[in-house]
Amino acid sequence: MTTYIKGMGNISPQQTWDDSVLLNKPLVYHDDKLKCHEPDYTQYIDPKQLRRMSRVIKMGVAAGSMALKQAGLSVPNGIITGTAYGCLEDTGIFLNKMIENNEHALNPTPFIQSTHNTIGSQIALLLQCQGYNQTYTQGAFSFESALLDGMLELKDAPDQSLLVGGVDEITSTSHAIQRRFGIFRKAMNNMDLFQSKEKGTLNGEGAAYFVLSGEKGMNDKVCIEAVKTLFKPTESDLHHEIISFLEMASAKPNDIDLVLAGKSGDQSFGTDTDKILEAFFPASTIGLFKHLCGEFPTASAFALWLGAKIIQENYLPAAVVFRNNSRPINRLLIYNPYFGTHHSLILLRAC
């Protein structure tokens, strides 16, 4: 099922929401987390609505608004969101207030906005969109699940336009808790993430939305050919599944011009990805992206935005290149492993 990308919006730790040249001046952080470089939200959201929104809601609503604007669409037929953590900040506020106030006189706003589906709901409320509205919270497959649902919806009714996105935020509490697991490195220059051979990665966040349709428009340049998720596959299963995934889209490894690989810099898992890149894609250009956005469960949404931008603009930013085989980029594979457990594949093609 070919799905066409009509518009995109992305708020990430990089400058991804204005007209500047794609990642020509990557933002450099000296930290153990990469937080979003955010726009002035009053450009996208009515200030009266804005006052009640937490940061992740603003990020999601603004990214959705950007995607709709690019697609020239005022109201989509449906809104599908993937988020692993949901609205963490308001969840934290609500839980803290429960303790502080001894479970009495709790403020309604953080409670109302602590649910995972607040982001998709807020977009629908602002747009008065009464169509299909779904939020997927499948850990590191949340965005892929949203994408698969969108593609299935479009298979049934290709003329629809759906707003599909992935959103997750870092809060100080969530970062402190996750850091205890030893999954993040000490503060470092994010652009050096792949230079040092250490355990751990950098925490990340972002919000990316896409307007998708099953019908090709005159201005469409990128389409999604296939999406697949694999949970804790064995090495041989993973290798087999990659080949069968490509075969289902009538492609061979050699047809892939660019692989955007979700290496996180964590040496515990990096060698597995290297094996795949060497075994199947020796002729392809290889790009990396997690030094730009950090590691988080919906990082695939950032990768989809980046891959689609590379094809759309026919431009491969130097900050992404890991190995350049100088191929014109028509077919692009996103391979995103998340802490060695969740592996996803998204195949893009120029159209």
Partner: protein
């Protein structure tokens, strides 16, 4: 009463995150909902919680809400009449 009204304006701005307003921007008799400050039903719930948290007043009859929350002055009058001694 003047001090209570000033306190209420500050508390309302903080509780409802009305960052674009200063206390002096809110008139004592200015309607809070719809045409006035443009507050909505979620804000009404926040105001009920504000009365509980800051003044230890539980709204006995929710039907009285529209009258009590008409303006800052009407809230101050309700607090003065109902605050536990």
């Amino acid at each position: 009463m003047e001090q209570l009204i000033a306190d209420l304006k500050r508390q309302i701005i903080e509780a409802l995150n009305l960052k674009h307003l200063k206390p002096e921007d809110i008139g004592d008799d200015q309607p809070l909902f719809v045409d006035g400050l443009g507050l909505d039903s979620i804000d009404a719930l926040e105001l009920i919680v504000l009365l509980q948290q800051h003044y230890n007043i539980k709204l006995a009859n929710p039907q009285d809400g529209p009258q009590i929350f008409k303006s800052v002055k009407s809230i101050a009058e309700y607090i003065t009449a109902n605050q536990p001694k």
